[in-house]
Structures are given as C-alpha cells and as structure tokens.
C-alpha cells in the first residue's frame, strides 16, 4: 500500500517534469515557425524589402540549388580547415602547456608574452599571416590556430597549476619523478580541463577559419557569405549563415560525443 502511494506521487512528479520539458520545446518550435512565417509574409506584402532581408522561400530555393552546385564543396572545405586547425591548436597548445608546467623558468619567461598575445585581437595578424604563408588554405588554418592557441595554452596550464597540491605531495612521498607526476597525477586530474578546452577550441577554430576565409579564400562557407554580400545576393548570405550555424552545432555536438567517450574510458565513481 505504502509503496504504491509513493510510486503514485513519483508518477505525478515525473509527469510534471515531462510536461514542463515538452512545453519548453514546443514554445521554442512555435517561436521559430512564427518568426519564419512572419518574415515570409512581411516580405511578400513588401512591408520589408526582400532585397535587403531576403526571405525564407528564396533561402530555401538557394539551399536546394546550392546542393546541386558547390554547397558540399564549400561545406567540406570549411569543415576540413576547422578540424585541422582545431587539432593543431589542441595538440600544440597541450604541448606548450606541458612545457610551461615542466619548467618554472620557462613559464615565468613566457607569462608577459602570453598575456599580451591573449589580449591582442588575432584578426590583426591576418595580413602578416598571408604574407608569411601565402594567401591559401594554409593561411586559413594558421589563422584558426592563432585564435585558439593562446587560450588553449592558458586554460590547460591553469588547470595543471591548480592540480590538488595534496595529491602531488602524496605522489612525492613515493619519490615520483616529474614525468610520473605528469602522467599519473596531473594529466588524469585535468581530464575535465582538457574537455573544456576542446569545447572552447572548436568554436574558436571555426571563428578563425571563417575570418581566414573572409580574407583569402576561393571556397568555404566564409567565402560563400562574403561573395554573397559583394554581389548583393542576400539569400546566399543568409543561406551561408544558416549552414554555418548548423555546422557549428554539429561540430560542438561531436565534441560532446567525444567528451562522453573520454569520460567513459576514464571512469569516475558513480
């Protein structure tokens, strides 16, 4: 009897949560549909100028046409550049962070440079990068790395430095070497730091790639958007932006998936 009563309450509670969740999602979808409808109707009635704002039906048309043209190429180029920039940023950033953690002297020396580089708007480096590595894919990847690298280094280094002092002391009571300290304590203790910097990095890499494409490219979503703007084809620009939003969502989602895999192999209690 007693048990049944509790489960009745529990059911009610669960139902309440479900309803709440459902109504949030429903409202979100409604807002989106309403927005698109309003946009379409206002453009059709010429209350807003569709030359400047474009309109959903045109965007859809462009989208369909693009798929038969070079959409896949642009998409592939941007994704490839982002993934390469992201990987290089993470690997190089982790490597530098490890070096700086290893040598106190090195990190003291590097500190002011890191601070300045961190606050410098990396876009300003664009022309220099182009002159140095040429106006091509390489420049775009370097741009992506330039934007994400310093943040990665600082994030990981900070995590390393904040590693529980008691754990470090405990390892030292067993006379551990610096390398053992790194592999047995500091790196495993900073898995969540790594995951965090993956999350930050994927977004920053995409920013770097699009910035790079604005500056130099002949393909990619950034190119598509800039090109659309130059020839006043706003539907092209809008399509580019929407695809970019989807791309960034998918990339972030993949990082979340990666996080799940990493946490699974690095299991925590509970």
């Amino acid at each position: 009897m007693h048990k049944e009563k509790i489960s009745e309450d529990r059911k009610k509670y669960l139902r309440k949560i479900l309803i709440k969740k459902f109504s949030v999602i429903a409202t979100q979808i409604c807002i989106l549909i309403l927005f698109i409808l309003l946009w379409e109707i206002l453009a059709n009635k010429e209350i807003i100028d569709s030359f400047i704002t474009s309109k959903p039906s045109e965007i859809l048309e462009t989208f369909i046409n693009l798929s038969s043209n070079d959409l896949w190429l642009h998409l592939r180029v941007t994704c490839m550049e982002t993934i390469i920039g992201f990987s290089v940023g993470i690997l190089l950033g982790s490597f530098i962070a490890i070096m700086l953690w290893w040598s106190d002297f090195l990190s003291k020396v590097a500190e002011p440079f890191l601070v300045v580089l961190n606050s410098l708007p990396k876009v300003a480096l664009g022309p220099i990068i182009i002159v140095w590595v040429g106006a091509g894919t390489k420049a775009i990847i370097v741009m992506a790395v330039a934007i994400s690298l310093v943040v990665t280094v600082m994030e990981i280094l900070n995590g390393f430095i904040e590693t529980d002092k008691e754990k470090i002391k405990m390892a030292q009571t067993f006379n551990c070497s610096k390398l053992q300290l790194l592999t047995k304590i500091v790196i495993p203790a900073n898995i969540s730091t790594f995951i965090n910097s993956l999350k930050i990095n994927i977004g920053l890499s995409l920013v770097g790639v699009i910035t790079g494409e604005f500056l130099v490219s002949k393909a990619g979503l950034g190119y598509l958007i800039v090109y659309g703007g130059q020839v006043f084809k706003l539907d092209l620009v809008m399509t580019g932006v929407i695809i970019l939003a989807l791309v960034s969502t998918v990339l972030y989602g993949s990082v979340l998936l990666l996080e799940k895999l990493i946490l699974k192999s690095h299991k925590f209690g509970n």
Binding site: A171, T173, N175, C176, P188, K267, F268
Partner: protein, 276 residues
C-alpha cells in the same frame, strides 16, 4: 617466540627485552632546519635528537606550527636539513630514501582509479610492481576487509575506509619506517576512534615501526610506546615519555580507561600548556 635478531653491526644494538634485540632503526642527531623564504629566514627545528627502535610506535606532539611536519619531511628527504645527521636502518641518509612510507592527513585517493589501482600506486611509481608485491597488496586488502571494494571507486567509500586504503597504499611498498602526519585528524570523532583502533591493529600485525605526528594527546598515549613532546618553534625535544601500561595486548580503546592513562594525559597536557 620471536627469534633473536642478530645485527651485523653489534654497536647499533641498544635495547634488550626478553630475548628480542631491538635496534635503532631511525636516529636523529642535532637536526636543524632553517627555511629560506622571501621575507626572511624561518627557524623551524633546532638540534632535534631522538631515536626510534624496531617495531616501536613513537608519537610526536607539539604546539601547532612548531615544525612537526618539517621534521617528517626531512626524514623522508622531501626537505633538506640545514644541519645534523640522520641515520636510517644503520646508514646515514642523505636526500630521498625508499625505506620510508609517509602518510599524510588527507587520503588523497585518486578518484579516477579503483581502490586496487590506488593501493598499487606506490608500487607503480617505484617501479616495483612485481607479482609478489601485488599479492602482498591484495593480502593487505583482504586482511583488513577492503578486498570486496577493490574494484570500487574512492567516492563510494566512507572516510574511515578511505583512510585505511591510504594506509594500505603506504604499507604496500613495504617501508622500514612509517611516518604518519596527523593521519586521522580529518576524520570525525567517532570514525577517528574506530579507525585508530583498526590502524593500531594493522600496524602491530604488520610489525611496522611508526613515527607519528598528532595534535591529540589521547591518541598519542593510546597508540604509542613513547611520546616525544616538542617545544614551540623552533622545535627542540622538550621531554620524552615512555608509555607503559600493565595490560597485555594493548588496545587503544581499553587503555583509555586505565588510571595511568589520565596521569600520562595530565603530565603531557601540562608540558604543552607551558608553551602555549
């Protein structure tokens, strides 16, 4: 009966009780320590001398900040001494040594490792993860009722259990001397009393030599054979108490009820109070 331990160097033999020769396994001679810090020098230890014999449990007690942790760090070689001599197992010890196990206040179990993996951390670090040593670690877990938790994670264990796991992690490397730095003070009172008893049993069973730092006078009396009282900073040895109860099979809980216990307590309390 335990057989007579015959020492290579007869000069080190120092105490003789009922056919068992106890040798000085740890000997400190005028150990001093002055820390060099940015805002000046800190004198932490001044001419500290004492010794610990095989199988003894010795407590160090003293006002807070007097230099107790510093003393233990010097014995393990984590800190350099400024002056004096240190002998471990008959040899002068300079720098880091593998003969000592050091257990800190916090258990510092690694939450990403299972209990068993935590226990063999020391073996991994010291590169002595042999089948014999692993078997010994398992045996310790079995003996002290933690074997069934070996594949669990630290967060699934209670504070008292975690502390026992931390002790087994230290014992697994088979140290000649075990140093405990307020190893139980992070536990709540109830757990602490029962863990103290458990750990006393483990220490006596495994016949380890122990030098422990504590804030707790009762703990020092109930667990140890001798209590060393230190002065305030810079620490020097103020007085050494030999703790003797007429009870066979000393039990840290039962001992607390003995009238001798309170007389020891009072004299140590007074000794410390003068410093405060």
């Amino acid at each position: 009966m335990t057989p007579l331990i015959i020492n290579k160097n007869i000069l080190k033999i120092d105490k003789f009780i009922g056919g068992i020769v106890l040798k000085k396994i740890l000997k400190l001679e005028n150990i001093s320590k002055i820390y060099q810090a940015k805002n000046g020098e800190v004198e932490a230890l001044k001419n500290v001398s004492f010794d610990v014999k095989q199988g003894e449990i010795v407590s160090i007690i003293g006002p807070s900040g007097c230099g107790k942790s510093t003393l233990l760090s010097i014995i393990t070689g984590l800190e350099e001494k400024s002056a004096g001599k240190l002998y471990i197992d008959g040899e002068e010890s300079i720098g880091r040594t593998d003969k000592i196990g050091y257990m800190l206040q916090k258990d510092s179990l690694l939450e990403w490792r299972t209990i068993y993996k935590n226990v063999i951390l020391g073996l991994e670090i010291k590169k002595i993860k042999t089948p014999e040593n692993e078997e010994y670690a398992k045996e310790l877990l079995r003996k002290y009722h933690l074997y069934e938790f070996k594949d669990k994670y630290p967060s699934q264990l209670s504070g008292g259990m975690r502390q026992r796991v931390a002790l087994i992690r230290t014992l697994a490397i088979k140290p000649k001397i075990l140093l405990l730095d307020e190893a139980f003070s992070a536990l709540d009172y109830q757990t602490r009393i029962s863990v103290t008893k458990d750990i006393y049993t483990i220490l006596k069973n495994e016949n380890v030599t122990v030098l422990m730092v504590t804030h707790d006078i009762s703990e020092s009396i109930s667990m140890s054979d001798r209590v060393i009282v230190l002065t305030g900073r810079p620490a020097t040895v103020k007085k050494i108490y030999n703790i003797e109860f007429d009870i066979k099979d000393k039990d840290p809980l039962k001992v607390r009820e003995s009238p001798k216990f309170s007389s020891y307590f009072d004299s140590i309390w007074k000794e410390l109070d003068v410093n405060a």
